[in-house]
Amino acid sequence: MKMNRRRFILGSTLVGGGLLIGYAASRPSKHRVANRDAGERPYLTTWLRIAPDNTVTVLVPHSEMGQGILTSLPMMAADELDADWNLVRVEQAPATDLFANGVLIKGFAESMGVSIPGVLDGLASAATMKVAEIMNMQITGGSSSVRFTGEHGMRVAGAAAREMLLKAASARLGVPESELSTSLSFVHHRASGRSLTYGELASDAARFEPSSEPILKTPEQFTLMGRSIPRVDIPAKVDGSAQYGIDAHLPGMLYAAVKTSPVFGNRLQSVGNTEAVLQRRGIKRIVELDDAVAVVADNYWRAQQALALLDIRFEETTNDSVNSRSIYAQYDTALQDELNEDVIEGDAPGFLASASDIVEATYRVPYLAHAAMEPMNCTVHFHDGRCDVWTGTQDNLGIRGRVAKVAGLDENSVTLHASYLGGGFGRRLPTGTNTIDQATQIASHFDVPVKTLWSREEDMQQDYYRPAVTSKFRAAFDNTGKLMAWENHYIGKNEPAEAAHTPYSIPHKHIAYALSDTHVPFGAWRSVAHSQHTFFLESFVDELAHRSGQNPYQFRLNMLADKPRHAAVLRAAAQKANWERNLPAGHAQGIALQESFGSIVAQVAEVSIRPDGSVQVHRVTCAVDCGRAINPDTVASQVESGVIFGLTAAMYGEITIDKGRVVQRNFPDYDMIRLRDTPQIDIVNVESGEALGGLGEPATPPIAAAVANAVYILTGQRVRELPLKNYRFTAAPVESAV
């Protein structure tokens, strides 16, 4: 696609002798910023501030949860600006509507009509969100920050600022712009040997109109993009000074421990033993909510101890009898009903009806919890008709709005203090606000700050879960062994819409789904619907390869003739992994491929079976085409992270429902990959130079299938349900494929 840069109305202004530049949220009558003192609505979202002391401050409107966004986005602005990285400062943009994603989206939609990253699009179209509400979002998700805010916001702002500085220098030095160059926060005039710092030029530059279509650098002109720049957030994360939401520590603050109905949505019936509990040391109040009870104390441990002594009863509903088996039975029934079409190409039902040999399989995955390391928490302080909020969230603005709504306050009366996130993975998106709602309601009884903090058990049992899903397949070949028909019927439809689509060229496809809601709350979980569908798709494709006597790698490659990027990534992974060559005895490899969030990822897992029948993953080779790497070391760390996150789910991840409630309680029964289980991870960066893809999520989807496909070669057993911890395998190698 030809890139059109005319996406933003840029604005600029002079503040404190420096230049501010950013996106204008509304078309101003003139380009000067509105006078805030005069009470006019300011329209400028400032991404860049160039101060007289020659420092450049970049404001980042996304949340840092370890993905390196506080570094990557400023790199993109600073590179286009030709700023000296040592003079670049980074600030978290405040949670005000000036920094809403909606502003960006509106700019996109109005000027281009280009596709909006899935997470934002999905939220905008989801039943719970109206399009208008997207204007008040400040989302970090959908692996979208770099390819969206960075590529179409930061770079444009940096380039426009540089052009203004050149204009200012031209006027100051009395030479044409064509004789000027920029580097390391200086404008140089080579012919005369004169140089001016950006700081010296900032106030003059602010007098020029910023271009909405500045000329951007080509990749060979990049000075920062493409280099591994150390992350700016890391020093504070090795000395304990990094502040997370849970670390809010305020004078006179109180602490709330909460017990919510273990059966989602059931109402609180009664609370007993309150008098004895209220007499305990430090206990301030017992707060009853619709479906929960909280104890507020002067120390979190005291609140927790007291909560455990209350006699808490919840009402019962029909949901009390729901369990994982009944949910799967419900799914099976739903898949017998009329389905909703997803992809219909050719005539798969017709081909299957006449086929002599049909391959059939049913796959399932369980619910998954996010289990971010920082348990859910939120501190709220009501005072003077206002409210201050401290919490780590993937949508600062959305959470500000949520607190305002629950508190019955105007949004401008709520201040959200942003912090680092102790893990996000989708849990801290505004689609799941139960902690925020509780914290606001609990704190409304006090005029001091109250920190509501969930125990790990609450965090695990009151999550918004990656859904349990069933997926049924049928497929058939022609008599030359070519895969002709693909039928896939599955449960649920979540973002991204294309998650159940396979990249392979198959003449007849019939992909359809049934909606089958349960009372278990849904949440976006790293890579969302790809997390289950890539396991299904890439396992079943593997079954078909073996059934037709073809090598699983070659079988895939043969069906990618019209997908050269996918083929290149698959080849790169196989080559780097030394596919099926020189493997130690008892080891086997499995391969899987998927495109998600604009990036294509192929993984080869080298696996063996331990004497106790469990699975050991020795090495994962991961080839990635994300277009171009902005910060290659961050790409590597996100890929490592994505692989291990997916591997944890494949090996251990299982939330089961019994009596309407989550069975698992804490890490002992919802285990995680640890150092001893960690495979060697080798990464191949396939730089296609195509449009930037996301990185926070794409490495998660393929790993489960890659491992399960290797397990099949070792054991002859096809893994059609996760997690792998539920199996005790015996090595019985299948005849090696061609």
Binding site: V238, N299, A372, M373, S455, V643, F667, M672, Q680
Partner: protein, 150 residues
């Protein structure tokens, strides 16, 4: 009255003897670098050192550390000079979300103090902390770079 030293400073706290050290540090002393992760000693986010030994503070009552020397993440760097472990964490760009890293660094520091050149198996055996972001490959590289023979 609970008495112990934290990062060299003497503290006397009028708290219950069964209060876990974690909450004494966080809520009573305002030392927030030590993190709450699970409350059952399963994840290691709350790891501190008691007389040099790694201890999961979420299940350690203050009565068990009476008179002890406690070191938290805030007490590692002396005069803003990072320890080799902290520096290796920066050099290898280990942390992502960073939430587990205080406990991770405290556990690794204790391991290297008692065993300056651990084998890979000894590292795997000693460091059982959970990192949900999966920074383990870099943790392993960072520890290997710190081995006495490295």
């Amino acid at each position: 009255m609970a008495r112990f030293r934290v990062n060299g400073k003497e503290h006397q706290l009028d708290i219950e003897p069964d209060m876990p050290l974690l909450w004494a540090l966080r809520d009573e002393l305002g030392l927030s670098g030590t993190k709450f992760g699970c409350g059952v000693a399963a994840c290691g986010a709350c790891t501190v050192q008691v007389n040099g030994n790694p201890v999961r503070s979420c299940v350690t009552p203050v009565s068990a550390v009476e008179g002890s020397d406690i070191t938290t993440i805030e007490g590692l760097a002396v005069n803003a000079s990072l320890t080799p472990v902290q520096q290796a964490w920066i050099d290898h760009q280990v942390p992502q979300c960073g939430y587990c890293q205080s406990g991770m660094i405290m556990a690794v520091s204790a391991l290297l103090a008692s065993n300056p050149s651990p084998s890979d198996a000894e590292i795997d055996g000693a460091i059982s902390n959970v990192c949900r972001c999966g920074t383990y490959p870099r943790i392993r590289q960072a520890i290997r770079s710190l081995r006495a023979s490295a």
